[in-house]
Amino acid sequence: MTSDLLIATTVGERARAVEQPAEAVAPRSSSLRRVAASAVRQPGLVAAVLVLTMVVLWAVAPALFTGSSPIDGVPRDKLQPPSAAHIFGTDNLGRDLFARVVHGSGTSLLATTAAVLVGLVAGSLFGLLAGYLRGIVDDAVMRVMDVLLAVPSLLLSLALITALGFGTLNVAVAVGLASVASFSRVMRAEVITVSTAVYVEAARSSGVRWSTILRRHVLPNASGAVLALSALEFGAAVLAISSLSFLGFGAPPPAPEWGSLVAGGRDYLAVAWWLTTIPGLVVVAVVLSANRVARAFERTGAQR
């Protein structure tokens, strides 16, 4: 058993545990009230959602949040500590750090989303094949996944980057492919549970084609746990991508990315603490929030 498996089983168990009660559909107003009530009880979750919303807004419309250019600096204003004019301070070229963080959100979040999507699609496909066909396909796919777990994902990503080359998109693909194993395990476990259910047997014995069974019965029921895992993987992907960007494999300078911003401040550690500390704090806040939302999603996501 491995970490992914551990996550897999707990995600699956919770998904199923929540699935069981088929209560009468509550009226909309009371469900709204329930959301409000649970928001009051979970201030952490509310804060997490707010952080994620803000970062997404940064990514979508950076110009709304900052008027400064992320690329062109004012040399006169270089290495200024955080102040009212520059709330995150300025870097060695006089560029506003807040502007760079805000403009970097787009690239960083896009890369993260791409990585999760690559892992989700490729992993689900393998898991679906293994879990539905069983037999020799299952054995072969799962042995490959075992091997993927034997090599740490960061090293796997680095090998993929060596082959694919540098750049944000390649980093995203490398991180996504390195997370295929956990997605395929969860998908396989879910598919096996669902496809031995009575209604699937009934569909099969009444002559429904297997592609239809997959589409109409297996996939919708198995997707809850897989989606909960992708929320969890989002935080991990932010970390992995910022690490690779820190190592210099992401977008080439002067384009800002959260990881490369921290790397850029390395040479000024002694004189300008804000250059490394603040972009790092942004990453921490996003990862913590993503994990918090993932946990909430794990508990309630399967209800739908």
Binding site: L6, V147, L154, T162, A163, L269
Partner: protein, 317 residues
């Protein structure tokens, strides 16, 4: 016992072979021509076609993939992973030259991670006050959410630039080992604490714990005499992943602290697209995983006597 060991060794060899094959496929099959890359990189644009052809012939890249693979595998069996394009020495020699430095770092960080992780897990379920338990159990999720390069830089900023307690870079002496091993131990320790405290909490809800309490066992006796032994099993199962993570963590840590080691070697190898070195490290990581898992498998029966290593498989009676 011997049959079991033999079976596990065979499985380990399979994983190594598969890791080699997988890295071969990734590095030699994916888009990006290995010869063109090594002749100066596709980024430079003007690569001399004659040089590329010569390199292709030299590396055997003009032959069919199947033939390339079998030749490479046969060489790998004799521990020949090719020649490092950066240094011109054998890739295995390049890796083993810096291995002691990484070993020293990992050997300091691992005990630190285990002690802190286990202590945190126990304290977060054992502490007398509810607020303290809650505060302590918030630490592991925080620890796994913090990028390790950032922790390293914060440590550098505070302990070497402000307080001037430790050197900021290099490999000399014990003092240079302190900050990197702390930075490396934090994510691993937090991960371990997360797994162990989850499993401790589940174990403490078991009926037999209730029984022990009903018979008058104190909190300490319940924890250390009854629960811990069982709760530690899931964490042990992850030992291979944990050690692998630690090894991968050296990539970032050694870069942050400018230390010589396997992790830093990989970064420079990826930068100059030194395929043989990257492949050697990937296979080495798989070897570390296999060995750790093997050691842990042999430890199980010592911790839980219900698990016995008999015949061909692990029997959980």
């Amino acid at each position: 016992m011997n049959r079991y060991l033999a079976k596990r060794l065979l499985q380990g060899l399979f994983v190594l072979w598969a890791a080699y094959t997988l890295s071969f496929l990734i590095l030699y099959l994916l888009p990006g021509d290995a010869a063109a890359i090594q002749a100066g990189g596709a980024e430079n644009g003007g690569v001399d076609p004659a040089l590329v052809e010569r390199l292709r012939a030299e590396y055997g890249l003009d032959r069919p993939l199947w033939e390339q693979y079998t030749t490479a595998l046969a060489r790998a069996l004799t521990l020949d992973f090719g020649t490092s394009t950066q240094s011109g020495t054998a890739a295995t020699a390049a890796v083993s030259a810096v291995l002691p430095q990484t070993f020293a770092l990992a050997a300091t960080a691992l005990p630190l991670a285990v002690v802190v992780g286990v202590a945190l897990a126990i304290a977060s379920t054992f502490a007398r006050w509810r607020w303290l338990r809650q505060a302590l159990s918030a630490l592991p999720p925080l620890g796994v959410s913090v990028p390790s390069f950032w922790i390293g830089l914060l440590l550098l900023q505070f302990f070497s630039f402000r307080l001037r307690l430790f050197p900021s870079m290099g490999n000399e002496g014990w003092a240079s080992l302190v900050l990197p091993s702390v930075a490396l131990a934090i994510p691993t320790g937090a991960f371990l604490a997360q797994i162990l405290s989850r499993s401790l909490r589940q174990t403490l809800e078991q009926p037999y714990i209730e029984l022990a309490r009903a018979k008058g066992a104190g909190s300490a006796r319940v924890h250390f005499g009854h629960a811990l032994q069982n709760a530690v099993i899931p964490a042990l199962t992850l030992a291979g992943v944990l050690v692998g993570q630690l090894l991968a963590g050296t990539v970032v840590t050694e870069t942050v602290f400018s230390r010589v080691g396997v992790g830093r070697l990989v970064v420079t190898a990826v930068n100059s697209r030194d395929i043989p070195v990257v492949q050697t490290v990937v296979v080495f990581a798989a070897l570390v995983f296999v060995l750790t898992s093997l050691v842990v498998d042999l430890l199980y029966p010592l911790i839980d006597r219900r698990i016995s290593v008999t015949g061909a498989s692990l029997v959980n009676a």
